[in-house]
């Protein structure tokens, strides 16, 4: 305050104006970075998507042709979309079941569950591409750990990443391994909020664990299940890193997803890559919108 009295220019500004200027100054760096490196590129991807353009050649306006080509003519994009949907369904289903089982196992406070929670969380924190390489080795048809164990049981394992019918499932299983610990912890958070007296009442009425799970746990967990499901949906649609390092989208187009499709096109067909980018943005925005609507519904439910 004493500083201000010595400086006549500061005194001249009304406190309110001064406050506003200060707020703008504080927010300015964030605004600059958000606009320059996120919002402007986002607008650009919509803009570039209406041009036919490769990095070497020139740009020509083609309207919605890129979208039309992508959705109706390009079989590799349709395969990418189909793969993404299949990946999403399997990833969601397997992750939900596995993390639910683990959440139920580890929900009680005991030394075993503290250690368990910690262990299932380790895959979540390590770099996905690095572990993707490790799994790639484990998936090798001959010397890979998985098929060697199977052959000891007298089972001939599939070629995993080299088999176009299995590869998508193989990268999905890897992703389930990588992320299920996170959803386990989110679900434990939900389980711990369920009032214990509901279970006590059920005990008095003689309900068994199975009935308690279906009649109390699951219904009470509904809001958090919606939350987890939409997050899984969004993250599955963005799948890229592990798929790219494990299969590069192959064999053929067997594991091409929306993101591997656009990534592979960055250097030779900017227009098409941008159209796929904007398409991805629209889908993610839609799911996020659904999530926020459901989120509000969930709060009302509570």
């Amino acid at each position: 305050m004493s500083m201000e009295q010595k400086n006549p220019r500061t005194v001249a500004l009304k406190p309110k104006t001064r406050n506003t200027l200060q707020a703008y100054m504080f927010f300015l760096p964030a605004a600059a970075f958000l606009i320059l490196f996120m919002i402007w590129p986002m607008i650009n991807s919509a803009f570039y998507s209406v041009f036919k353009w490769n990095l070497a050649g020139n740009k020509s306006f083609v309207g919605l042709d890129n979208y039309k080509f992508m959705l109706f003519q390009d079989s590799s994009f349709r395969r990418a979309l189909l793969n993404t949907i299949i990946y999403t369904i399997f990833n969601m289903g397997l992750t939900l079941v596995l993390s639910m089982v683990c959440a139920l196992l580890f929900q009680k406070q005991s030394r075993m569950s503290v250690v368990g929670r910690c262990l299932v969380f380790i895959p979540v924190v390590v770099p996905i591409t690095v572990m993707g390489m490790v799994w790639k080795m484990m998936y090798d048809p001959q010397y890979g750990f998985i098929n060697q164990v199977l052959s000891m049981l007298n089972i001939t394992g599939p070629s995993w990443l080299y088999d176009s019918n299995i590869a998508l499932l193989a990268v999905t299983i890897f992703n389930v391994w990588k992320e299920y610990g996170l959803y386990t912890l989110i679900l434990i958070g939900g389980l711990q909020k369920i009032p214990q007296d509901l279970y006590e009442v059920a005990d008095v009425e003689g309900a068994n664990s199975w009935q308690k799970f279906w009649k109390i746990t699951l219904p009470m967990l509904k809001p958090i299940m919606y939350f987890v499901t939409t997050i899984l949906l969004i993250n599955s649609f963005k799948a890229f890193d592990h798929i790219w390092v494990m299969t590069g989208g192959g064999p053929g187009n067997a594991t091409t997803t929306v993101v591997t499709y656009l990534y592979a096109k960055v250097r030779d067909n900017v227009g098409l890559a941008s159209a796929a980018s904007f398409f991805l943005f629209l889908i993610v925005a839609l799911f996020t919108f659904i999530k926020s609507v459901i989120g509000k519904g969930g709060e009302v439910d509570e």
Partner: protein
């Protein structure tokens, strides 16, 4: 019958717990084991659970004859720089949104919320073109600046700043603190763990990031660890597992150690921000 079931249940439970833990840890064991074996032992068709002729040779080979140390340095440098810039920018922005009133506040709020929806994967194409145009490929600024702000961390910090009682700010201002003084003397000391969580999350994201550094770095010396490791390939198309495995161990170890010591920050940040911002 019922009694017998009751006695069996903890055993069954224990076995399931053991299986899930094994499932989570086995790939790490295989990575670790492979890092001590020669290429020929790794690809040997004979099953072996423990390494054959274990030695540290792979590690010496990796450090002496490849650019691994450079990649490691790049990863550390990019992560630390990104965290430092993020903390300054995100804290200032979060403080503005949490505590100050000004015309256009709705616009700034909406900007942060909108940026949170944008998936990185959907902006890498135009961002890459921007880097080409600016000549930022293969530079540290190209690796760092595009990840120097996080709308999610802004949002996360704003939430935690809002929980600090406003009376503390007012008391400090009566004592002669300016806006900036309130931030450094009241808000930050009271939100240490939220800022720590933000820093840890950022470290984890940048340390593991692949899509962006793989586009910006074309020359080998500008790669970060994930890009370098994923790029290991022999001319014949096979993978030099004897180099990939020790490199993977050294890339995973720092983050695992951080996790062991700072568990609660990881868990708090990740469960709340399951969608990466």
């Amino acid at each position: 019958m019922n009694n017998k079931k009751l006695r069996l249940l903890p055993v069954v439970k224990f076995i399931i717990v053991l299986c899930t833990c094994l499932f989570s840890l086995l790939p790490f064991f295989i990575m670790f084991k492979g890092s001590f074996e020669s290429y020929n032992s790794i690809v040997s068709l004979q099953f072996h659970l423990l390494p054959k002729n274990a030695s540290m040779y792979n590690y010496f080979d990796l450090l002496a004859n490849y650019e691994f140390l450079r990649w490691f340095f790049n990863s550390v440098f990019v992560a630390i720089a990104a965290i430092a810039i993020n903390i300054v920018i995100d804290v200032l922005a979060a403080y503005t949104l949490a505590r100050m009133e000004y015309p256009g506040k709705k616009v700034t709020n909406a900007m942060v919320l909108f940026a949170q929806i944008i998936p990185v994967q959907a902006i890498v194409v135009p961002l890459y073109l921007m880097m080409v145009k600016w000549g930022w490929l293969d530079t540290y600024k190209g690796l760092i600046l595009p990840v120097a702000v996080s709308p999610f961390i802004i949002f996360f910090l704003k939430q935690s700043f809002m929980q600090i009682p406003r009376a503390l700010d007012e008391a400090a201002m009566i004592d002669g603190c300016g806006r900036f003084g309130v931030l450094t003397q009241i808000i930050l000391p009271n939100a240490k763990s939220a800022v720590g969580t933000g820093a840890i999350l950022k470290f984890m994201w940048v340390w593991g990031d692949y899509i962006w550094p793989s586009l910006v770095s074309k020359v080998s010396s500008m790669r970060t660890l994930p890009v370098g490791i994923a790029g290991f390939q022999n001319a014949s198309g096979t993978y030099p597992w004897n180099l990939v495995m020790p490199a993977a161990v050294l890339a995973a170890l720092p983050i695992i150690l951080l996790f062991i010591f700072l568990q609660k920050y990881f868990v708090a940040g990740l469960t709340e921000g399951a969608v990466k911002g």
